[in-house]
């Protein structure tokens, strides 16, 4: 049992920070891309047109039944075959995250839209609003408010999920810590650092989600 030596973090700080930056980039792309695609898929899941409804439903159900690691490998193998060339670790991981998170965001969006009572829609129609106006001014604002806590919670999970890019050797935060560990043999210090950083970020975000949830309950 050796004594702790926290200088290892100080000495490798630029490298670790580079990894953290990659993690943030990955999270940003995954969350924003996943949310946008999720809105489309979520609305498709509510569509009465079968050609739109069934593929969207199949996509959501299949993706949700797979572990993220597998989805990451999927794109890692599939994209080079489809395109005939490699697109690099980072892009491949981004595509995997967007696709994977979209399936989860889609369910939140669907539930959010469904949480608005149909009475609202009928009331809007009877006041002379058309479909577009009803969606824009009546349904979507309420749905978004209802969705807020779940969206934030899902974003926390998506942020945590970026650590899985480790499996394809992408240099995100966890992987860069493991590289430093391989060289310096300071597992305790390095993995504690990674844990603490993730904890601080995710804890803040989940506290915010809780506050939003409380506010939502208050408003109704």
């Amino acid at each position: 049992m050796g004594s702790f030596d926290w200088r290892v973090i100080q000495n490798n700080l630029p490298f670790l920070m580079q990894g953290l930056l990659t993690t943030f980039q990955l999270a940003l792309v995954g969350i924003s891309g996943g949310f946008l695609l999720g809105i489309l898929v979520g609305m498709a899941r509510l569509s009465s047109i079968k050609v739109i409804y069934y593929p969207a439903t199949a996509f959501v159900n299949v993706t949700r039944s797979l572990p993220l690691i597998l989805v990451i490998f999927w794109f890692y193998f599939l994209v080079p075959v489809l395109l005939g060339r490699s697109i690099g670790d980072f892009s491949s991981a981004c595509v995997a995250f967007v696709a994977f998170e979209a399936a989860y965001f889609a369910e939140i969006v669907r539930a959010g839209i469904q949480s608005v009572s149909t009475g609202q829609m009928q009331a809007a129609y009877s006041t002379g609003f058309d479909y577009r106006l009803t969606m824009r001014y009546i349904i979507v604002p309420q749905a978004l408010r209802n969705m807020q806590p779940s969206l934030l919670t899902q974003s926390v999970i998506a942020f945590q999920d970026t650590s899985l890019a480790y499996v394809i050797g992408l240099n995100e935060f966890l992987h860069s810590a493991s590289i430093v560990d391989a060289r310096e043999m300071r597992s305790v210090e390095l993995y504690t650092l990674v844990g603490v950083v993730y904890f601080l970020i995710c804890f803040e975000m989940s506290m915010l989600a809780k506050r939003l949830e409380a506010k939502k309950g208050h408003g109704q």
Partner: protein, 242 residues
């Protein structure tokens, strides 16, 4: 463009088919063991969080927040790489000599991570039960422990079945993390087949089908239990998280 030659037979030819079966068996074993430990731990911690004793509530809150807010892979690598080096040497050596130490480290890491999520569902479930039920039980002469044992928990478990089903699915999917520490489960085996044959797409497809099969089985089995347990007129099946 598509210069890839598909050869689906590699999935069932020797020795790859056998590898895959071994992987599936490990995945199922891991999932079931983790799920049961996590369920028991989660119920205990979840009850702590609504206990009338402040230190217990504090402990429960810290436990859930810490283990929920750190990615499971980070936790797994922490248990795998960091913890053995802070343990006294004799315990560390004993552990390393265990025949499948890797497997049990994954069980430890995943059970604790999942239990923190389950504890949150349990807490929410208990909170959703009206205080009247609680007072009624106490005034009938039940002790605090009995009230939980016979009234609150059986009721809360029913309300919590849908999210617990979702957590069970998550647990099975999370077992794929075990590949990072060299446990020979489904994802690891599909990677190994890819490494030997260069048929990544077929191997990954096979693994995907396995996970979909497991998901479907769990949904059907727990759906049956859910139906049997459901409190009439109270619960509709809700969509769970991951």
């Amino acid at each position: 463009m598509l210069s890839y030659h598909f050869n689906w037979s590699i999935i069932w030819t020797e020795p790859y088919g056998r590898w895959m079966l071994q992987g599936i068996w490990v995945t199922i074993k891991l999932g079931i063991i983790c799920w049961f430990i996590a369920l028991i731990l989660g119920i205990i911690i979840g009850t702590f969080r609504v206990a009338p004793f402040r230190p217990l509530r504090m402990f429960g809150a810290i436990y859930t927040e810490v283990f929920r807010d750190i990615p499971p892979l980070v936790q797994l690598l922490f248990w795998y790489f960091a913890v053995p080096s802070i343990l006294p040497k004799s315990i560390g050596m004993w552990f390393y000599r265990l025949s499948n130490a890797d497997f049990w480290i994954v069980v430890l890491a995943l059970s604790i991570y999942t239990s923190s999520r389950i504890a949150e569902h349990i807490r929410a479930g208990i909170k959703s039960i009206s205080q009247d039920l609680f007072h009624a039980a106490l005034s009938t002469g039940f002790t605090h422990f009995q009230t939980y044992r016979y009234i609150i928990i059986p009721y809360a478990v029913r309300i919590m079945m849908p999210p617990l089903t979702a957590e069970c699915l998550t647990t099975f999917k999370n077992t794929s993390l075990a590949m990072t520490v060299g446990v020979l489960e489904t994802t690891f085996m599909s990677r190994q087949i890819e490494a030997y044959t260069f048929h990544g797409i077929e191997a990954t497809t096979a693994a995907s089908v396995v996970y979909m099969g497991i998901t479907l089985t769990v949904v059907i089995l727990l759906g049956l239990i859910e139906k049997r347990l459901a409190v009439p007129g109270l619960i509709t099946r809700s969509e769970g998280g991951r």
